[in-house]
C-alpha cells in the first residue's frame, strides 16, 4: 500500500509509546521474582494465510484496523514485534511455532521461524512442523525436511494441529512423526480441542486427545504436549479436558499446556481458566504443565494472558514453587534447556 509506512509508524508509535525504558523481565508472585517462558507464540506472514481466514481475522480487528489487517498484523507477527510483546509482559523466553495448514490457518514455514528466532536466539526458540496434505506421496520427503529443521536449524520440538491440518489422531500412517521426534528428543506439541478458524475439522478423531492414546503408548520416548487441553473454542466450554488429565495421569510422557482457552475472547467471564488450573492441581499434574499464551494475537494479549493465568493459579491455591514450575521450570526441564534466572 502506498500509504502503509505512515500507518505502520503511527501504529508502532502508539504501541510502544510507553516502552522507552528497558523492560524488567519476570513477574512477582507473593513477593518472589519468577522467570517466565511463553511456549506458544505465532510468527507469520499475512500473505501466507488463506483468504477465508484473512477475512475471519480481519473481522475481529477493531475498526479501522480491519480495513488494513495486513499492516495491523505485520506490526505484531514479526520477531521484533513478538519480542516487544514479551518485553511488555516481562517474559524471558518464547517459543515460535511453524505451521503448515494451507487449508485453514495458513503457513509459517520452518525457514520463517528460523529467521524470526535469529532476531534474538537468546530469548526465542522454534518448533518445526511439516505438511501432511499429500502424505501418500510425500511422507518420506516431509519427514526428512522435519528432521533437517530439527537437526540443522536448531528447532527444539515439533508442532502439529490435527484439526487445522486435517488428519486423524489415530491414523498410524502418521506415527513416523512421533518416532522421529522421540529419536531426536524433540517434544511434540499438539493442538487439541476444536478451533474457531474457518475450515477446521471438528469431529472427535481430529480434536479429542483420547484418539492419541495409541501413539502415546506406542512411543514412550516421545513427549506429547496437549495444547489447549481439549478446549471447545466454539462453545467456550471445557471440552475434553478430562481426557487430557487422564492421559497425563496414565502416561509419564504426556504434558499439558493451557494456552488460549482463558483469553478474553474464549473465556469472557474468566470462569474456565480457573477451573482448568484447579483441575490440574487437584489431579497432581502441576509438574506436567507448561505455560503458553497462543499469542501475540493483538497488542497486549501476551501480557493479559499471563496475568489471567497467574491469577487463576493463585486463586486455585498454587504455591510460589508451583507457579514457578508452570511458568518456566517445567519447560526448561522438558526441552533440556538451562534454567532461567529471573
Amino acid at each position: 500500500m502506498r500509504h502503509s509506512w505512515p500507518v505502520i509508524g503511527l501504529l508502532s508509535l502508539l504501541m510502544n509509546a510507553c516502552s522507552s525504558e528497558p523492560a524488567e523481565l519476570g513477574i512477582y508472585v507473593q513477593g518472589q521474582h519468577l522467570a517466565v517462558v511463553d511456549m506458544h507464540l505465532h510468527p507469520g506472514e499475512w500473505s501466507q494465510i488463506p483468504p477465508d481466514t484473512q477475512a475471519f481475522l480481519a473481522s475481529r480487528f477493531p475498526f479501522p484496523l480491519n480495513l488494513i489487517p495486513e499492516i495491523a498484523a505485520s506490526v505484531t507477527l514479526s520477531g521484533e514485534g513478538i519480542l516487544g510483546e514479551m518485553d511488555k509482559a516481562g517474559i524471558h523466553a518464547g517459543v515460535l511455532f511453524a505451521v503448515y495448514a494451507p487449508q485453514t490457518v495458513g503457513i509459517a514455514s520452518n525457514e520463517l521461524v528460523g529467521e524470526q528466532v535469529a532476531v534474538d536466539p537468546e530469548r526465542l526458540y522454534g518448533l518445526a512442523s511439516l505438511r501432511v496434505d499429500r502424505w501418500n506421496t510425500d511422507a518420506d520427503l516431509e519427514l526428512q525436511r522435519l528432521e533437517e529443521a530439527i537437526t540443522t536449524y536448531g528447532m527444539i520440538g515439533v508442532k502439529l494441529a490435527h484439526a487445522h491440518m486435517h488428519f486423524r489422531m489415530d491414523d498410524a500412517r502418521y506415527f513416523g512423526i512421533y518416532e522421529l521426534a522421540g529419536r531426536l528428543g524433540a517434544p511434540v506439541y499438539l493442538h487439541t480441542g476444536t478451533s474457531p478458524f474457518p475450515g477446521t475439522s471438528r469431529e472427535p478423531p481430529y480434536t479429542d486427545p483420547a484418539y492419541l492414546e495409541d501413539a502415546i503408548a506406542q512411543y514412550p520416548e516421545t513427549v506429547f504436549i496437549l495444547g489447549h487441553l481439549g478446549y471447545d473454542f466454539e462453545n467456550h466450554a471445557l471440552g475434553t479436558l478430562e481426557h487430557c488429565l487422564r492421559l497425563a495421569r496414565d502416561y509419564p510422557n504426556v504434558y499439558l499446556e493451557p494456552s488460549a482457552l482463558g483469553s478474553v475472547g474464549s473465556d469472557p467471564e474468566s470462569v474456565n481458566l480457573p477451573k482448568v488450573m484447579k483441575a490440574i492441581r487437584d489431579a497432581g499434574l502441576v509438574d506436567r504443565t507448561l505455560y503458553g499464551s497462543d499469542g501475540p494475537q493483538s497488542p497486549g494479549f501476551v501480557n493479559t494472558y499471563l496475568q489471567r493465568t497467574v491469577t487463576a493459579m493463585t486463586a486455585s491455591g498454587y504455591t510460589v514453587n508451583e507457579v514457578r514450575a508452570v511458568l518456566a521450570d517445567n519447560f526448561t526441564r522438558i526441552f533440556h534447556l538451562p534454567a532461567i534466572q529471573p
Partner: protein, 222 residues
C-alpha cells in the same frame, strides 16, 4: 414486512422529516454566515458557498455546498477511511433551527459505499445526518454531527445448469454510524479551522476505535 422494505420506509420518513418545510429555520438573527459555521452548523445562505477538507485518522473528506433559496443547500461530499472505505455522496441540507447562537441542520445523502481489501463490499448508500453548532464567542464554535448510513449490498448469483444460466439478485443491508464532536475557529472572513473527534459504529465490527481529524473550511459569495 420485509426487513429491507421496512428500513427503507423508515429512512424515507426520516428524510421527509429532515427536509419538511415546517421544520425550517425561523427568520431573524442567526449565526454569522462564515464558511466554518456553514460547514459545521450546516446550510448556506442563498448565493453563498462553502467548502471543506479534512485529514486525520482514519477519515479524510472533501465537502462542497452551495446555498439556494428557501434554505436548501445541495452539496457533494467524498469521505474515505484510510483510502479503503470510500463514500462519495450528493446531498441536500435544510436548516431547522437558526438562532443567534445555535444552528441545527438536517441532511440527506445519497451515494455509494465502496470498501476494498479482504472485507471488500460495495453498494448504494443513503444517509441521514444532523448537524448542530453553537456560537460561544467571536471566533469559536463547538459543533457535533451524527450520521446514520444504510448501504444495500446486492449480490448476483449466476447458476449454470445443463439447460442454461439463471441469474438472480439478493440484497442485504449494512448499517454504519458516525458521531463527530469538535470545535471550529475563524481564522479570517473566509477561512476557518477545526479539530474534531469521531466515534464510528460499523456493521459487523464489535469494537471501533475513535478517530481524530483536522479540517480547513473556506467559502464566500461568488
Amino acid at each position: 414486512m420485509h426487513r429491507c422494505t421496512g428500513r427503507l420506509l423508515v429512512f424515507l420518513a426520516g428524510a421527509g422529516f429532515v427536509l419538511h418545510p415546517t421544520v425550517r429555520a425561523a427568520e431573524g438573527a442567526s449565526l454569522p454566515e462564515h464558511p466554518a459555521f456553514d460547514m459545521h452548523g450546516g446550510g448556506s445562505k442563498p448565493g453563498s458557498w462553502a467548502g471543506g477538507m479534512q485529514a486525520g485518522f482514519p477519515w479524510q473528506a472533501v465537502h462542497l455546498q452551495y446555498g439556494l433559496e428557501d434554505g436548501w443547500t445541495p452539496f457533494v461530499e467524498v469521505s474515505s477511511a484510510l483510502l479503503q472505505r470510500n463514500e462519495p455522496s450528493i446531498g441536500l441540507a435544510l436548516r431547522w433551527v437558526d438562532r443567534p447562537r445555535v444552528r441545527v441542520t438536517g441532511e440527506v445523502l445519497l451515494g455509494w459505499q465502496v470498501q476494498t481489501g479482504v472485507l471488500a463490499h460495495s453498494g448504494p448508500s443513503m444517509a441521514l445526518r444532523v448537524r448542530a453548532a453553537a456560537w460561544v464567542g467571536r471566533r469559536i464554535m463547538p459543533y457535533t454531527a451524527w450520521t446514520t448510513r444504510h448501504t444495500l449490498l446486492i449480490d448476483r448469483t449466476a447458476l449454470e445448469t445443463a439447460s442454461g444460466t439463471e441469474t438472480s439478485l439478493t440484497a442485504g443491508p449494512r448499517w454504519d454510524a458516525l458521531g463527530v464532536v469538535g470545535v471550529a475557529f475563524v481564522l479570517s472572513p473566509r477561512v476557518g479551522l477545526e479539530l474534531g473527534v469521531e466515534y464510528p459504529r460499523t456493521d459487523g465490527s464489535t469494537v471501533t476505535l475513535p478517530g481524530v481529524h483536522l479540517g480547513l473550511q473556506f467559502g464566500g459569495r461568488p
